[in-house]
Symmetry: C2
Subunit: 502 residues, 2 copies
């Protein structure tokens, strides 16, 4: 086995995580690698220890920018150290979520594809320090990222100084998985020459002037990824409806026989769709143009059904990671990891004709989708890339179980309590009950389709009654609503703990 990560640059910049943490400012802006994984872990932990020993609450406070979600090792430890004041564009750890919802942390939920331009154009505060996880750093400053690309290329380009966590838990064979390309920014934009999921247009590393690398910290800490769970019956039913729809569209010539590239959100339902594809005889080898590859991609590989997958991150459970490492050299011909400006770019997404599948928290009868705010106020995780994909997809599909909390919450409501995806961009809604194809339907027809096909049986009469009432009181109305009653299900849930009448 070669000695990893040894060269004059690494030797000259090598320091402990504590030393790196001590070089960070007490307040300012930190931007890190990470897109569901691949965030730095050693320096944040050391920073939290420094804050505990050296701080006094309120003396440290940061704006924290990342790719998308990170983990306990970054958002968790820094939230518990009360060190995050401002956070963008996405998060998913409980302590930070609580601080956001209590108003302690300012959070700006943003389309992932927008962040690069906000930083380059000076709309957000400038970055004092970028901390990126890497598998290797060459002596000329080429940084080879680990299992996600996220925002690292932009952060490295714009940060005042750069810290690298050289994570030796990753094999050096990860080198070559990335295709790092940052588009020219407006007004100097040029076409992005990706026309196929497997096109490579960049280089496999992030370039950085070695003089801007302030410190390099070695670590072996692995990302914590939850073990993979087999799809439950609800997820499998949702996946079944999606596959049936795709097959129907192929039969009608609206999707080509070799299908179209799929984007699939994170989570069990998305995994279930891939598992169903792997199992269905009629499904040919598929292409993916997505943000995160999860364990389920191995179902496709095992069934010889993965042609190629473009992603922004590989986020595998320990079991899947072992499989990945066993085949790491061969899989480089099947996977590419792109920065989120490219994985989520509207130009590329629209051009290729993506089938986008994302999860909804709730959907209303007219087809608006809430992806972010529970009961209109409490932030769950953020919009992430769902808007980037939905808005430009060939077909935009939203998936959700028809109920939550044991049936006490209906995912189908008269009006969503927060809108992340507007009626004009939502085409297909799927629950375990069935699928509503909203394309080309006027609002009232959309409402009938969603109630009939997607709502849980115990909520259908309530929703039909609301719709008929709204048609009466709004004197028709293109999109009939009664603003007195529009949130009556939500209000009943707040009052009684259930959207169903007692």
């Amino acid at each position: 086995m070669p000695i990893q990560n040894d060269n004059p640059l690494v030797r000259s910049k090598l320091m402990s995580a504590e030393d790196a943490a001590s070089l960070l400012p007490r307040t300012g802006t930190i931007a890190t690698s990470g897109f569901t994984n691949g965030h730095p872990k050693a320096i944040p932990a050391a920073l939290a220890r420094r804050i505990a020993s050296d701080g006094g609450e309120g003396e440290f406070g940061y704006n924290l920018y990342t790719g998308a979600s990170t983990g306990e090792e970054l958002d968790g430890v820094l939230a518990r150290a009360k060190a995050i004041r401002y956070r963008t564009p996405f998060m998913s750890t409980p302590d930070l979520r609580n601080q956001i919802n209590s108003g302690e942390v300012e959070f700006v939920d943003a389309h992932l594809s927008h962040l690069s331009s906000y930083i380059a154009h000076g709309i957000l505060d400038p970055i004092d320090a970028a901390i990126v996880e890497a598998v290797d750093v060459a002596s000329d400053g080429r940084i080879y990222l680990t299992t996600s690309s996220g925002m690292s290329p932009t952060f490295v380009a714009y940060a005042r100084e750069v810290f690298v966590e050289l994570n030796e838990a990753h094999p050096l064979e990860l080198k070559g998985y990335h295709d790092i390309f940052l588009p020219e920014l407006a007004p100097h934009g040029r076409p992005i020459h990706i026309t196929s999921v497997d096109d490579r247009i960049g280089v496999p590393y992030v370039s950085c002037d070695p003089g801007r690398i302030r410190g390099i910290v070695k670590t072996h800490r692995r990302d914590h990824v939850e073990p993979f769970r087999k799809p439950d019956a609800v997820s499998a039913a949702i996946a079944g409806h999606v596959l049936e729809f795709v097959r129907h569209e192929v039969a009608f010539g609206r999707i080509p026989k070799n299908l179209l590239p799929f984007q699939s959100g994170v989570g069990n339902v998305a995994n279930a769709v891939l598992a169903e594809m792997a199992a269905a005889d009629w499904v040919p080898p598929v292409r993916m143009y997505t943000e995160v590859l999860q364990d389920s991609v191995f179902d496709l590989l095992d069934a010889e059904k993965l042609e190629f997958a473009s992603t922004c991150a590989l986020t595998f459970s320990p079991a899947a990671e072992t499989r990945f490492h066993e085949s790491i050299s061969e899989l480089r011909r099947r996977f590419v990891i792109r920065p989120q400006e490219i994985s989520n770019n509207p130009e590329v997404i629209r051009r290729m004709g993506i089938i986008a599948m994302n999860t909804a928290l709730e959907v209303d009868i007219y087809g608006h989708v809430n992806s972010t705010h529970v009961m209109g106020s409490a932030m769950m995780n953020g919009i992430g890339g769902s808007g980037d994909f939905t808005r430009n997809a060939y077909i935009s599909i939203f998936l959700t179980p028809s109920t939550a909390k044991g049936g006490k919450i209906s995912a189908v409501v008269p009006m969503v309590s927060h809108v992340d995806h507007v009626e004009h961009s939502v085409q297909i809604v799927v629950t375990e009950q069935g699928l509503a194809d909203l394309r080309g339907l006027c609002p009232v027809r959309r409402a009938r389709a969603i109630i009939e096909n997607c709502a849980a049986p115990q909520y259908r009469d309530l929703l039909e009654e609301y719709l008929d009432h709204a048609i009466r009181v709004s004197k028709g109305g293109h999109m009939p609503h009664d603003l007195d009653r529009v949130f009556e299900l939500h209000r009943r849930y707040a009052d009684t703990g259930s959207m169903l009448p007692e």
Copy 2:
């Protein structure tokens, strides 16, 4: 003066409007040219006469697809003939609007840039007859459009048969204004090679197999365009705030000194911004990448402040049209008319860095925008291209007077009654009161900024009180709301005729 429009093809297909109307099916799908103007006028009028004499209500019924809005001569006469059953993607005539809001006509409000793919991919019903207005037809079937491009290239490509209205009220010098290019559709998409507003990548005509041209009708009917109104004080104040903001961004280096291409919605407020630009000494010659050029573009030309304008339509009042005709040969170097797949294309818009300015009906304290539905139910016109531009703009600005109905309606509300543009895509809100820059702000800060800078004085305390109350009852909450009270202003207006308490 040359004899216009005379060649073997024209002679062989020439017929009266009555004859053309008699060849249309009684039911089916008609798709026409037109994008605020340039819609057919003679054949629709003849069709309405045929329906009146030959019909009996209910015997005729059409799906009608257009570019964007048309006029009384098309939507108006066919609505009054009760001949429209289904309409997409946009409209603005009163009789049709009433039928949509009473539920008589099914209307599908759609992003203008999506329509082409919906037709090409067979998501909407196929087109029986396309009717396009032209200034000339060559004997090999090249169709030269009049003052808008809209959806005509796609409609001609996919219609079973084509009718042409040769409108001789337009000078033949219009030939050469259009740049007709239809992108390859997904999954065969290729980059669209427009990197500057004046790039031409297509041809100045729509090609059509002459065998598919069923009839050619000559007409001289002009489009009805309302006379231009000078900006009122409210519009001028809004425009002033926009210009001040742009100047501020230039000073901070976030907009280059030669500015960025502007997109400007239709209407008085948009006109006022261009008039202010023409009058402001510091403003250099500007570029426009927009949907509709109105009279105000002549203010820019007079002040030698128009570098180049890309548009989907030239919609001039009679006075401005006269000026246009006087300079029609020279202005061909300043204007290009593009199909809406290109004028509204997210790829091109994002690449060039557009400053997008669109009108809001209402905006909520957290920055969601309603562009379409009055009091949540009644359709005004449609989303049009505002979503195409807002979502991909370098800076997205929404403009609205702070009140309507003499102060009885506040344009700033706790929650908009319909969402067309989500918080993630709305950056700047402007009323005559002032401007709120929402970029990088968390929801509560956005709310304070909008209430303080944009709300009318008599509504500020009401909105502040709502916000403070919502923060209390939602126990913080990332986006504090009280769903019991969220529409109290709207409900009070419905009850009392004013959003203000008595």
